[in-house]
Symmetry: C2
Subunit: 220 residues, 2 copies
């Protein structure tokens, strides 16, 4: 029982950018966890019990209690497992700024990405234009730093890199490019080379296959 209570479980779905964020945070902190992948067309009783409000992944289960919403999971991981470094900056203004950028990514970058995935013709083109605009804004926030928080990989990098991974897929099937943002591209490649990221990201092929599955679902 005690062992069960100490178990750390992540309810997840491999292509989910929000699931990916939780995965990266756990790997960054060196946490061993049990990975349970969900079939989103037939959600498990455990997911329905642990996230009764939204029924969505990711859900982190720790000591029998659930933590939902990727940005809240990352902050929880950072507060519970200190391990001599933090994913969020320690200075309050920098923390507020990081929270703002993650909120921006989860809303704006996600919404525009969905338009590129799902939209046809004009809507897809609008999604691509918006993503270029958001990328320019984010490149401005990155500046000449290695990562958004400075020299150290952290909260904002974790939130953005799953979408950067989508951008690569968008290049293949929607002719999307962010060549106007060379610093952001360099940041993205730098992140992809990190163990925590490369171990956690789905491959472009897995992302694209999931998209085809979703699309098949809608048209039936």
């Amino acid at each position: 029982m005690a062992q069960e209570e100490e178990e750390i479980v992540l309810l997840d779905y491999l292509p989910s950018p929000f699931g990916t964020m939780a995965r990266i945070a756990l790997v960054e902190k060196g946490i061993n966890f049990i990975h349970k992948f969900e079939d989103l067309s037939n959600k498990s009783p455990l997911l329905l019990e642990m996230n009764p409000v939204h029924h969505k992944v990711p859900v982190l289960i720790h000591k029998g209690k659930s933590i939902c919403e990727s940005h809240i999971i990352i902050q929880y991981i950072d507060e519970i497992w200190k391990n001599n470094f933090t994913l969020l900056p320690s200075e309050p203004y920098q923390r507020a700024k990081a929270r703002f950028l993650v909120d921006f990514i989860n809303k704006k970058v996600h919404e525009s990405s969905v338009k590129v995935w799902m939209g046809a013709n004009e809507e897809q083109e609008n999604g691509k234009k918006e993503l270029v605009e958001w990328s320019k804004f984010l490149e401005g926030e990155l500046g000449d730093k290695l990562y958004f928080g400075g020299d150290v990989f952290g909260f904002v990098d974790i939130a953005l890199v799953p979408f950067y991974n989508w951008f690569i897929v968008f290049k293949i099937f929607a002719n999307f490019n962010i060549s106007e943002c060379p610093k952001l591209v360099m940041w993205g490649e730098r992140c992809l080379n990190r163990d925590s990221v490369s171990k956690s990201l789905p491959t472009s092929d897995q992302v694209y296959q999931a998209y085809l599955e979703f699309k098949k679902g809608w048209s039936t």
Copy 2:
């Protein structure tokens, strides 16, 4: 110059529930601030400069730097001005839970409230049904406690009470009631009796007048 840098300014709009949250948090912490109310049909250059991404209130300006989004502002206030008490719980799981509930309120309760404000007939009825459902869920989370965090007024209370204030207006013009949630009503009245809340909330009449102004704006 030093004095200007120390100035604390809140860019605000009286009927805004999100502005109200920032106000309550500042008053709870005993912070003196300069209150600048915005004309949302003619936003000030300061607002456009300080929130270049969303152009929305509330914005807290401290030491010349801006903090945007009400939930981020409240956490910033809590981290900067400790004053021997915190608005967020200190224990990580309770913090995660408070963040989840505030996120739920800002998304679900806000979205359903907008349906009651703006929607006609069926949409308004749906908004009312959803609000009763969310209120039951929130009442379950409140349980027999005085406030969401226990005996002490805090983050979740601050986020919910501006919407509770809307519920009172909805009763008048949309025949909305949450009599099925007596504990939540008692909680709401308890909050309304706090100085920080009663000083910060717009009156029902101010909220309703703002709604009529908005509605006039859409129909022209």
